[in-house]
C-alpha cells in the first residue's frame, strides 16, 4: 500500500519524508514505532501516528496509548489526548475514523445516513441513545411515530402516467412558494404530481403533540426530502428524521434499526404490512390512498381512482381521522395514571388492547369461508377476528351474534336468519380491521355478493 493514497498529508509532504515513512513501515513493527522521531512537526506526528495505527491497529493498541501520552506533552490539540485519560470506546464512525478520538477503526455498525453522510453508530451506542431518548420522551409525554409516505399520507404520480380525464387537475395545483394549506402540487422538476391525503395537516399537527415523528419511505432521498417540504414546510414535525430507501439497511424492507427510539415506544403507520417483517406488532395498517389512476393500475385494481371520479376521501370521517383516534387512545393508555414507572409499558401490547375493543362482545361463526382442508383456528381471518376482540366458534349456539358467510344457501345462514342473528360477508371483519371501528352490519349483507347457487355437499366448518 502506498503512503500517498493512504493519507493526504503525506502526499504533499516532501518526497524524502514519504520515502522515510515507507522504510519505517516496512521494517520491524515494534522497533520502528519506538524509535519514531517525535521531534518532527506536531501535525506530522499526528498523521504518522494514525498511519501506524492503520497498519497494525489491533496489535499496537497498547503501544498507541504510550505514544499518545508522549504526544500530549507536545500539543494539546491532538484529539487522541482524550484517549489517554480513558480508552475510547469508539461509539461510531465518520468516514473511517472514530468520531471521538480520530483513530482509524473498522467500519462496522449501523449506518445513519439520514443524519449525515458517512455517519455510523455501533450497536451499543444505539442502545444507549435509545435509552436516553426514552427518558426524554417520557418527560415530554411523547411516543415515537414512524410514518410511511406513499399511499399513506399522500399519493404521487409521474406526469407521464396521467390519464386524459385527470388533466383537469393541472389547473388546481397549489403554489410551491407557500405550501401551507395546499393539497395538490405540481413538481415539474421531478416530473411528478403529488396529492396529499385529506385531513393530513390536522393529523400531523395533532400527532406532533403526542409523538416524535419520523418519515420512512421506500422512495429515494431527494423524493423523501421534497415530500417532507410539502408536508412540513417549517421542519417542525420531522426535522432531520427523514429515512429513505437509501438509508435502510436491508433492501426492500423497513426496520426500526435506524430509528433512535425504543421498540416498545414506537408506532408505525404504513399501508404495506409486508414492508415491516420484524415489527408487525408496532404496525397500524392503513387503507391505501389511491388518488391517481396510475396508483390503481399499479396494484391491478380495476376500480376508478378518486381523481377520475372527481371525488376524494372525506376529511372528518376519513381514514386518517380514524387512525388519529386510535393513536390518541394508545397514547393515553401509555401515559395513564401518570405513574413513574413507565418502563413496563409497551405500546405493542397496548395497541393489541385497543384493537380488542372493536368487536368486543361479538361471537362469530364462519360458514363456508374457510377451505375444508384447513384448520379454522389457523386461518388468517379467524385470527384477525380474534385480534379484534371477537370470540370465534365453529358451531352455532344461542350466544352467537354473527354468522360470516359467502353465500346464502348454507345451514348456518338459514339458522341465523331464523334466530334473527346478523349475517355478513367477510368484508365486515376487514372493514373493522382497517377502520378500527365496528361497522353497521347492514352495509355488509350477503345480498351484495353474487349468489353462488351451488348445492355442493362440501362439509362446512
Amino acid at each position: 500500500m502506498s503512503v500517498a493514497s493512504d493519507s493526504p498529508v503525506h502526499s504533499s509532504s516532501s518526497d524524502d519524508l514519504a520515502a522515510f515513512l515507507e522504510t519505517e513501515l516496512d521494517s520491524d513493527s515494534d522497533s520502528s514505532s519506538e524509535s519514531f522521531p517525535i521531534g518532527q512537526a506536531q501535525d506530522d506526528d499526528d498523521a504518522q501516528v494514525s498511519n501506524h495505527r492503520l497498519k497494525r491497529q489491533k496489535l499496537e493498541y497498547p503501544e498507541d496509548e504510550t505514544e499518545n501520552v508522549a504526544s500530549v506533552t507536545f500539543s494539546e490539540e491532538i484529539s487522541e489526548a482524550s484517549s489517554s485519560k480513558v480508552p475510547c470506546e469508539h461509539p461510531g464512525t465518520f468516514g473511517n475514523m472514530c468520531f471521538v478520538c480520530g483513530q482509524k477503526v473498522e467500519v462496522t455498525g449501523v449506518s445513519f445516513g439520514y443524519i449525515h453522510k458517512g455517519f455510523k453508530l455501533q450497536q451499543d451506542e444505539v442502545t444507549r441513545l435509545r435509552d436516553i431518548d426514552m427518558k426524554a420522551l417520557q418527560s415530554q409525554r411523547k411516543l415515537c411515530l414512524v410514518l410511511d409516505l406513499d399511499h399513506t399520507l399522500l399519493n404521487s404520480t409521474v406526469l407521464r402516467d396521467l390519464k386524459p380525464e385527470e388533466e383537469y387537475l393541472k389547473s388546481h395545483t397549489h403554489s410551491l412558494q407557500d405550501v401551507s394549506g395546499g393539497h395538490i402540487f405540481m413538481l415539474e422538476f421531478m416530473h411528478m404530481m403529488t396529492k396529499l391525503r385529506p385531513f393530513v395537516h390536522s393529523f400531523l399537527k395533532e400527532a406532533s403533540t403526542m409523538f416524535v415523528m419520523y418519515i420512512y419511505t421506500m422512495g429515494d432521498r431527494p423524493y423523501a426530502r421534497q415530500m417532507a417540504k410539502l408536508l412540513d414546510p417549517k421542519g417542525e414535525y420531522f426535522g432531520e428524521r427523514i429515512i429513505s430507501r437509501d438509508d435502510g439497511t436491508v433492501k426492500h424492507q423497513k426496520s426500526l434499526d435506524v430509528v433512535l427510539g425504543q421498540e416498545k415506544a414506537v408506532l408505525i403507520l404504513d399501508d404495506t404490512e409486508n414492508a415491516w417483517p420484524g415489527h408487525k406488532d408496532n404496525l397500524i395498517v392503513i387503507e391505501r390512498y389511491h388518488f391517481f389512476a396510475s396508483s390503481c393500475k399499479q396494484f391491478d385494481h380495476r376500480f376508478q381512482s378518486l381523481s377520475q371520479l372527481k371525488s376524494d376521501e372525506s376529511e372528518p370521517d376519513g381514514v386518517l381521522s380514524a387512525v388519529l383516534k386510535v393513536l390518541k387512545q394508545t397514547h393515553s393508555l401509555f401515559f395513564q395514571d401518570g405513574g413513574e414507572d413507565l418502563s413496563s409499558r409497551d405500546v405493542r401490547s397496548l395497541l393489541k388492547q385497543v384493537r380488542k375493543e372493536i368487536l368486543k362482545g361479538c361471537k362469530v361463526v364462519f360458514s363456508r369461508v374457510f377451505p375444508t382442508k384447513c384448520q379454522a383456528e389457523d386461518h388468517p381471518l379467524w385470527r384477525v377476528a380474534e385480534g379484534l376482540g371477537a370470540t370465534c366458534a365453529t358451531e352455532v349456539d344461542a350466544s352467537v351474534t354473527h354468522v360470516v358467510a359467502m353465500d346464502v344457501g348454507t345451514e348456518k345462514v338459514r339458522w341465523a336468519i331464523r334466530e334473527k342473528k346478523f349475517v355478513v360477508h367477510r368484508g365486515w371483519i376487514d372493514a373493522a380491521n382497517y377502520l378500527w371501528k365496528k361497522q353497521p352490519e347492514e352495509n355488509f349483507g350477503l345480498e351484495q355478493l353474487k349468489k353462488q347457487g351451488t348445492d355442493d355437499v362440501t362439509v362446512e366448518k
Binding site: 506536531q42 501535525d43 480520530g102 458517512g118
Partner: protein, 189 residues
C-alpha cells in the same frame, strides 16, 4: 507548490487552496476530431475533473488553464485516442492542524457536523470547551455554561482540523473548537 509544501511542513500550515498543475490522460473518440479537437478535449476535461475529489490533492475546484496537450496515442484495438493533458487547476485540501471557518449543518448529542465549502467535518463534544452542553429540542444546539455562546445550525465557527481521512473518493475531517480563539464566530443572520 514546492515552496508551499516546504513552508507547510513547518509548524504553521498555510491555507488550503493550491494552484497546481495536474496531469490526466484523456480519451477521445475520433468523432470529436477536427477543428474543435482541442475545445472538445478541454470541455471533456472540465466535465470529468471539476467537482471531483482526488485522494492525493483534495477537491478539484476549477480548471484555470491548459499547460500542454501531448501527442495522442491510439489505443490498441479501439478507435479511441489517449491524450496526456497537463492542466492548471485550483485544488482545495484540508490539512491536519489547519484552522478554518465552517458553517454548522447538523447538531447531535455526539457533536456537530459542519461544512467548509465541499468539505464535511465533524466536531465531537469532547473537542469543545469545557462547559458546552448539548441542548435537545426543536433547534438542537450546544450552549456554554454561562449561556453566552450558543452553537446551532447555520452558525459560523472557527475550528481546527484534527484528523483528515480519505475514504475512496470522499474526504472526512474531524475538528476541534477547544483552543483559544476557536469556536463561534457569528450568530446566524
Amino acid at each position: 507548490l514546492r515552496e508551499t509544501e516546504l513552508r507547510g511542513e513547518r509548524k504553521k500550515r498555510i491555507g488550503m487552496f493550491f494552484h497546481m498543475v495536474l496531469e490526466r490522460n484523456m480519451q477521445l473518440h475520433p468523432r470529436f476530431f477536427g477543428r474543435s479537437l482541442r475545445e472538445n478535449l478541454v470541455s471533456k476535461l472540465m466535465k470529468d475533473v471539476e467537482g471531483t475529489i482526488s485522494g492525493r490533492h483534495g477537491f478539484v475546484l476549477a480548471v484555470t488553464g491548459i499547460e500542454s496537450i501531448g501527442k495522442g496515442l491510439i489505443r490498441d484495438g479501439t478507435p479511441f485516442v489517449t491524450f496526456p493533458v497537463k492542466y492548471r487547476c485550483v485544488v482545495f485540501r484540508p490539512f491536519e492542524g489547519e484552522v478554518l471557518e465552517a458553517v454548522v449543518t447538523t447538531v447531535m448529542q455526539h457533536g456537530f457536523f459542519a461544512e467548509a465549502g465541499p468539505l464535511q467535518l465533524f466536531v465531537s463534544n469532547h473537542e469543545m470547551q469545557d462547559g458546552m452542553e448539548y441542548q435537545a429540542g426543536d433547534i438542537p444546539n450546544y450552549t456554554s455554561s454561562d449561556a453566552s455562546v450558543r452553537i446551532q445550525k447555520d452558525c459560523e465557527v472557527l475550528l481546527k482540523i484534527t484528523t483528515v481521512s480519505v475514504v475512496a473518493t470522499e474526504i472526512f475531517c474531524l475538528g476541534s473548537i477547544k483552543g483559544k480563539y476557536l469556536g463561534l464566530l457569528n450568530d446566524r443572520a
